[in-house]
């Protein structure tokens, strides 16, 4: 995965083999350990529990938990805590090995603490998740091309809808904080790595171990309840629901730990002179998105723990006959679910702001305003959750207050738009591929955001809740908005992460297919919604035929566009033109280090003298501290100054 003209530190051999068993740990040992422990867990739990009440659910839960623990033990996630426990802490040689020194490309298949490796691993995982989720989405649209298709059975359709939703939610949560916050952010702040590199690698492999749990849903009877798995329907679902719940527990734990890592890194590991208000906005967005995730993920964990106990031990949190209520599920779920969409949205928007700055050649307009907007969105999003529950009847008197808080969120979101167009204003707009996706974001997110305002209004929500209108709205915001911003970020940082330039001719063709097909697909879906088609249906009234045909045709074109972009990414990664250290002439610190980025990023620790938005401003008088020798860090000076 790396191109090396000169040997990098991480490729030089480490020295005689020492350090024992753990140096042989990799993805294979992880899988073997996971399968073995899962099998042992299955044997024991099956012998003890099958035949008892809820026995199958308990067996499935135990088996999949054993898989997760076994895999992570096998790949080395628990080495750190275990060695702490036994007073056998890592030596510096151990740490070098853990950072991937001497292993070449093999380090991508191991527990590697180098944040750049972890970022690349996340990038590949995210693309795989989108491929899986995209395929499932195409299956849904194929079913819906005629009103009574026999393409899928109702059980399979409901399961595909569920797994499509969950896969996409998981992928969009980590699509920017996984690859880019990990790879780019430490370099951006002048640090050598994340605050807790072992925890970083652990977060990745924990997410990885959750993926088979999610896919196991298809083999354990399927889940009928959509990704929101409302109780009590989900309490009654086949054992696939247990592995689905476990997937979420594991995933949420990983996101929480990664969030802690990100925040601590940004607060404590900035280089000298990098004050909080000299940080690039991407750093702020990563931090504030992660902070919100710290609030939301425990709620997800709580909801799913109660679900598992309801299903496997007979508690009655969600079962009305025994004193429970589906409203408890809905409340806890949406306490997570609304902040979660801002966890999805804020990091990509922050990344996109870096793109807007670089390709307008102007400072970020309203830097402090953007930060304030992110903070306001974080705070308000905690107070709006019941707008997903206007029609549940749970507390009609609270509809007014929740409508208020929900509509208030449009104000900070609007400020973000002000700052984007303010940055474009009178800029020197350089229309390279990343900038294409920025304009597409602007077009799509306005539509997505405005349609969200309809849903925040209680009477209109009564018309549209659980209608295809809602589906079109969140695809416009999450795919049309957040994912396009993330794609802009990918095109922007591709040269730094892979050492290659992304082929822009192919990229632009893919862009236009995606841009146009997206409108056809999701405007078609809005049409379906206006006509009154409910969501999550496998069969529909023939009145909705034309709208569905439009959406399905659009979807097929859309997937072709994405596949073409994927081809471009893979082809350029392997055979593209080698990239210079700073192809975009950008000013943030990651562009001041060479490509490929050496282990520990900076040969000499940088000293920062200004923020990275000094476009058009006169050169600063050099600070009192001596700048490092230029030849040590090819590609630029040692600071973020102009």
């Amino acid at each position: 995965m790396t191109t090396t003209a000169t040997p990098l530190l991480e490729d030089t051999p480490l020295g005689p083999e020492a350090g024992g068993l753990y140096r042989h740990q990799n993805i294979v040992t992880g899988m073997v350990a996971g399968i073995v422990l899962a099998f042992v867990g299955w044997l024991i739990s099956h012998a003890l529990l099958q035949g008892s009440n809820w026995g199958t659910d308990m067996v499935v839960t135990v088996t999949m938990t054993c898989w997760v623990i076994g895999f992570n033990a096998g790949i080395g996630t628990f080495n750190g805590p275990f060695r702490w426990l036994t007073d056998n802490d890592q030596t510096p040689e151990d740490e070098l090995y853990a950072a991937g020194v001497g292993q070449g490309a093999k380090r991508y298949w191991k527990f590697c603490t180098d944040h750049k490796v972890v970022g690349t691993q996340y990038l590949v995982l995210v693309m795989v998740l989108f491929a899986v989720g995209g395929t499932l989405g195409m299956m849904i649209r194929t079913q819906l091309i005629t009103p009574h298709s026999s393409f899928m059975t109702p059980q399979l359709y409901n399961t595909v809808v569920t797994v499509h939703g969950m896969t996409m939610i998981a992928a969009t949560i980590i699509m920017v904080t996984g690859p880019f916050t990990n790879f780019i952010m430490p370099i951006m702040i002048g640090a050598k790595d994340m605050a807790f590199p072992r925890l970083n690698a652990a977060s990745f492999w924990v997410v990885f171990s959750a993926v088979p749990c999610l896919l196991a849903v298809f083999f354990l009877g399927g889940v009928n309840a959509g990704w929101t798995t409302y109780a009590p329907l989900s309490v009654q679902d086949p054992p696939a629901m247990d592995t689905f719940a476990l997937t979420i527990l594991v995933f949420a734990a990983s996101v929480t730990l990664a969030g802690v890592n990100i925040i601590v890194t940004i607060v404590t590991m900035r280089a000298e002179g990098m004050t909080m208000f000299r940080l690039p906005i991407f750093t702020w967005g990563s931090m504030l998105g992660s902070a919100l995730g710290l609030y939301a993920m425990p709620a997800f964990i709580m909801a799913m723990v109660l679900m598992i106990t309801d299903r496997a031990t007979g508690t009655s949190f969600y079962v009305a006959a025994q004193g429970g209520t589906g409203w408890l599920w809905e409340n806890i779920f949406w306490i997570m679910g609304h902040p979660e969409v801002y966890v999805i949205l804020i990091p990509p928007v922050a990344a996109m702001l870096e793109v807007v700055v670089t390709f307008s050649r102007k400072p970020l307009f309203g830097y402090v305003i953007v930060i304030a907007a992110f903070v306001a969105i974080d705070a308000l999003s905690i107070l709006v959750w019941a707008h997903h529950m206007f029609t549940t009847g749970w507390a009609p008197d609270l509809s007014g207050p929740f409508m208020l808080t929900t509509e208030l969120i449009s104000i900070p979101t609007g400020l973000l738009f002000l700052c984007i167009i303010g940055t474009l204003w009178k800029g020197k707009i350089w229309t390279r591929l990343p900038m294409f996706f920025v304009y597409l974001f602007l077009w799509n997110f306005i539509i997505g955001g405005v349609t969200g305002i309809y849903l925040s209004d209680v009477p209109a929500d009564g018309l549209f809740h659980n209608d295809m209108f809602v589906t079109a709205h969140f695809h416009y915001t999450l795919m049309g908005g957040a994912m396009m911003a993330a794609t802009a970020a990918l095109c922007y940082w591709f040269p730094k992460m892979t050492g290659k330039m992304l082929n822009e001719r192919i990229g632009k063709v893919a862009f236009w297919i995606i841009a146009v097909a997206f409108q056809v697909t999701y405007l078609g879906m809005f049409w379906e919604g206006f006509e009154g088609m409910p969501r999550r249906v496998a069969y529909y009234d023939p009145t909705f035929l034309h709208a569905n045909q439009m959406a399905t045709v659009g979807a097929y074109a859309l997937i072709l566009g994405w596949l073409l972009l994927l081809y471009d990414i893979i082809h350029s990664w392997r055979n593209g033109t080698p990239a210079p250290a700073n192809p975009w002439g950008a000013k943030t610190l990651e562009w001041k280090v060479p490509t490929p980025v050496p282990l520990e990023n900076f040969v000499v620790e940088p000293v920062v003298t200004s923020d990275p938005y000094t476009y058009g401003e006169p050169e600063k008088v050099p600070s009192a501290k001596p700048a490092p020798e230029p030849e040590l860090i090819p590609g630029g000076g040692g600071g973020g100054g102009a």
Binding site: N158, G366, G393, S410, I411, W430, Y454, H465, G616
Partner: protein, 302 residues
């Protein structure tokens, strides 16, 4: 050096002046300034938005049969018209940026730097005020509409709605009628009391402008007043298992006389049907299929 909003001369709404040969400032004509061109694009996008607001809902929504449905559609139209200028501003400036400020022919080297505009306090404050005002307008509208919808006037017709996997049952308390179709009389407020026998379902009819979940072991309530005759469909909106797609029921808004006849045909007594429909139905009426005598607030000649 921290960045904060700085006021930059000759920006904001664009360079509105040209410097002539002397010191006198000659204002440029409106439409050759950036502000003028953006105004044109803004007007076009706003007009498109307003046209879409007025045309699309009317041509795609199913026919609205109740006061609440009308409120919902009017809200959609009003919100779209309110949002159109804001969207148009963003689209306008974005489009103008590509028309006027795009560096053409630029391939591999970054262009020169643009002006260092880090912020503009007046623009930001105006933007904040306008968006907040819009927000308040939308909120007030929404609260008013909500208050109007949540009324339970006395004398409302009561309908008990029960959802189960995978069908709807509508019963009319006091008449003993239980049906898989929902028939409602014109111009009479209705109170729906909704519950479920098993999992959570969604009692939803877009034409009636009503949606409330059917939850097991609790009753949720929603109101509607049909004001047009017509047919509609009740659909389950909350995914409820295998045959969720098939969980729909036919419905109709009919005149009170027809409603009384329907109740009678479904097992109500003459008296109960008359009371519920607020008409005076006689046995002779049931033979002719026409109820001639009306009572109270129903329109004449039902």
């Amino acid at each position: 050096m921290t960045s904060g909003p700085t006021v930059e001369a000759a920006q904001g709404d664009g360079a509105g002046v040209a410097r002539g040969a002397g010191d006198a400032e000659i204002p440029k004509p409106l439409f050759s300034r950036p502000a003028g061109k953006i105004l044109v694009i803004w007007l076009i996008f706003t007009a498109i938005g307003i046209v879409l607001a007025l045309v699309v809902p009317k041509h795609t929504f199913p026919p609205m049969l109740t006061k609440e449905g009308d409120t919902g559609v009017t809200t959609v139209i009003f919100f779209t018209i309110m949002a159109a200028p804001v969207a148009a501003l963003v689209y306008g400036i974005a489009a103008y940026s590509l028309l006027a400020w795009r560096q053409r022919g630029q391939r591999d080297e970054p262009p020169e730097d643009g002006p260092p505009l880090r912020g503009n306090a007046p623009v930001t404050i105006v933007w904040l005020c306008v968006t907040s005002l819009l927000c308040i307008v939308l909120l007030v509208w929404g609260l008013a509409a909500m208050a109007a919808d949540n009324q339970a006037p006395p004398g409302a017709l009561r309908v008990d709605v029960t959802g189960q996997q995978w069908l709807w049952t509508f019963s009319y308390p006091g008449t003993g009628v239980s049906s898989r179709s929902l028939v409602l009389p014109l111009n009479r407020p209705v109170q729906f009391d909704v519950t479920s026998n098993d999992v959570t379902h969604g009692f939803w009819s877009m034409s009636l402008g009503v949606q409330v979940d059917a939850n097991p072991d609790v009753v949720t309530t929603i109101y509607a007043t049909p004001n047009k005759l017509g047919k509609f469909t009740v659909q389950c909106s909350q995914l409820c298992g295998l045959y969720h797609s098939f969980m729909y029921a036919p419905g109709a808004v009919v005149r009170p006389g027809a409603f009384a006849l329907w109740l009678y045909a479904n097992g109500a007594s003459l008296r109960a049907a008359s009371l519920d429909a607020k008409v005076k139905m006689t046995r002779a009426d049931t033979a002719t299929g026409q109820v001639t005598a009306a009572v109270g607030a129903t329109p004449a000649g039902s």
